[in-house]
Amino acid sequence: MQALTQRSKPVSREPMSLMERIYLPAIFKGMVITFGHMFRKKPTINYPEQTRPFSPVFRGLQVLNRDEEGRERCTACGLCAVACPAEAITMEAAERKEGEENLYREEKYAARYEINMLRCIFCGLCEEACPKDAIYLSETVTPASFARKELIYGKTELLIPNPVTEPEAFAKAREARKDR
């Protein structure tokens, strides 16, 4: 049979020699090995101060995007909800009124848009399904919470701040979403 790895070794069934049966040499050898590890470089990452760089394809918390003029891109088409394998997305559509053109990009918008982070599996299919470039998976990890209902994210949590009216908050959000 072909070996699965190159590291597999045939088991020796010979009776142990006297040296092996005394055990102490083997124990000393083991102790030397562990002692050598005392002065190795430690691969530990001191978490809150240092963070581990994520891979560029990391998929984290969703963010609902706005366009350059600060209008919500989402048109409540529901494609993301359909694409979502975990059925985490719920939304209610509403019609844009006269004078709200600076708020919403299309005639229809999501009055309510919720993602249940307890269900989401961060597969990124919502991002792929969206025809309006409205939803993106950022590089933020979902923060932990003591209550389940706090993990149902509404528009307040998902929507990125308006770049026109609150440029600082927008920049901050961009920064926070990016560097984790």
Binding site: G30, M31, P43
Partner: protein, 347 residues
């Protein structure tokens, strides 16, 4: 009248000494828990506790505080009295054995000579053995009073382990006692100080056996059979919570400290300062340096204990018994007979 006054001073002196030694043992044991975690971390390429205080130095305090504030649970079906007695006994016996250890040579203060030893009884080492063998009652009672089959099994294992290893330990010690001709720990140290080599040079095999047995007596890995979490889900202290569990764990560290001190005393010259003739130093300085030396030696032993713990996996129970009865006891007997022959031949 004069005699009475002297006795009062003596009493105060001894009480202070007891308080100091108990505090020192407790603090050392406290920081051993920290040291253990650090050593374990370093041996495994980790950093260990480093959050509480500088370099994590306040970690033992935080741990202790946590244990005090945890909920105490006494199982309904347990024997309440014995259940509480168990950890107390473990702690008590661990502390008691430091009474006969000579911590240093005589210290002169306010015109009085203070011996840095609580009691220089001439059966010192027998007393240590007596107290240490009492220690197993803590485990036994704890395991039995929990009214839990796993704890009982673990306690049984612990008891049989301690008994079988104490035999080998005692026999290896007899060989040493044949050389020293005394049971007083202070005399043993003084013999090693005065020109002659440390006992370990004459008794290397005896020391090795003693070391292994001491490790087994302290229930340190690889001999921590009474607390095997994989096969006995935690062992004898399974039902214990909060500070009662803390006492059990803590007494293990005190035991480790005391047995290291005993080993240093018996085999490595006790408070003897290596390569220095104490007679050339001022007596007080020599006493202080001696204490430091003894602590240093015991810390080395403790490090070796930890080092072994984080190197070797736990023995299987039959392996443990085989090692004790079929390897260590015959070796110790051989060592004893050999020493006896040499001693007789020297005469």
């Amino acid at each position: 009248m004069h005699l009475l006054a002297l006795d009062w001073m003596m009493l105060i002196e001894k009480l202070v000494l007891i308080a100091v030694i108990i505090t020192v043992s407790l603090v050392v044991a406290m920081y051993l828990t920290y040291g253990e975690r650090k050593v374990a971390a370093f041996l495994q390429d980790r950093r260990g506790p480093n959050r509480a205080g500088p370099a994590g130095l306040l970690q033992p305090l935080a741990d202790g505080l946590k244990l005090f504030f945890k909920e105490e649970i006494i199982p309904n079906s347990s024997n309440r009295f014995l259940f509480v007695l168990g950890p107390c006994l473990a702690m008590l016996t661990a502390m008691m054995s430091c009474a006969v250890v000579p911590w240093g040579s005589d210290f002169t203060m306010f015109g009085r000579t203070i011996s840095l030893q609580i009691a220089d009884v001439n059966i010192g080492i027998l007393y240590v053995f007596g107290v240490v063998s009492m220690g197993v009652y803590g485990i036994m009672i704890g395991g039995w009073a929990s009214n839990n089959k796993f704890s009982l099994l673990a306690a049984l294992r612990g008891a049989s382990q301690v008994i079988s290893y104490e035999l080998a330990m005692g026999i290896s010690l007899i060989a040493l006692l044949m050389m020293t001709n005394t049971l007083s720990l202070k005399t043993i140290v003084e013999q090693q100080m005065n020109g002659s080599w440390w006992n370990v040079v004459y008794q290397p095999l005896g020391f090795l056996i003693f070391f292994v047995c001491a490790m087994a007596e302290c229930n340190r890995a690889p001999f921590d059979l009474p607390e095997a979490e994989s096969e006995l889900n935690m062992g004898y202290h399974q039902e214990y919570s909060s500070m009662k569990l803390g006492f059990y764990l803590f007494s293990e560290y005190i035991n480790m400290f005391i047995s290291s001190i005993i080993m240093a005393t018996l085999f490595f010259g006790g408070y003897d300062i290596p390569f220095v003739n104490e007679a050339n130093l001022a007596p007080n300085l020599a006493a202080v340096l001696g204490v430091v030396c003894l602590l240093g030696k015991s810390l080395i032993f403790i490090f070796v204990f930890m080092w072994i713990r984080w190197t070797l996996p736990r023995f299987r129970y039959d392996q443990l018994m085989n090692l004790g009865w079929k390897a260590l006891i015959p070796l110790a007997l051989l060592n004893m007979v050999g020493t006896a022959v040499i001693e007789l031949w020297k005469q």
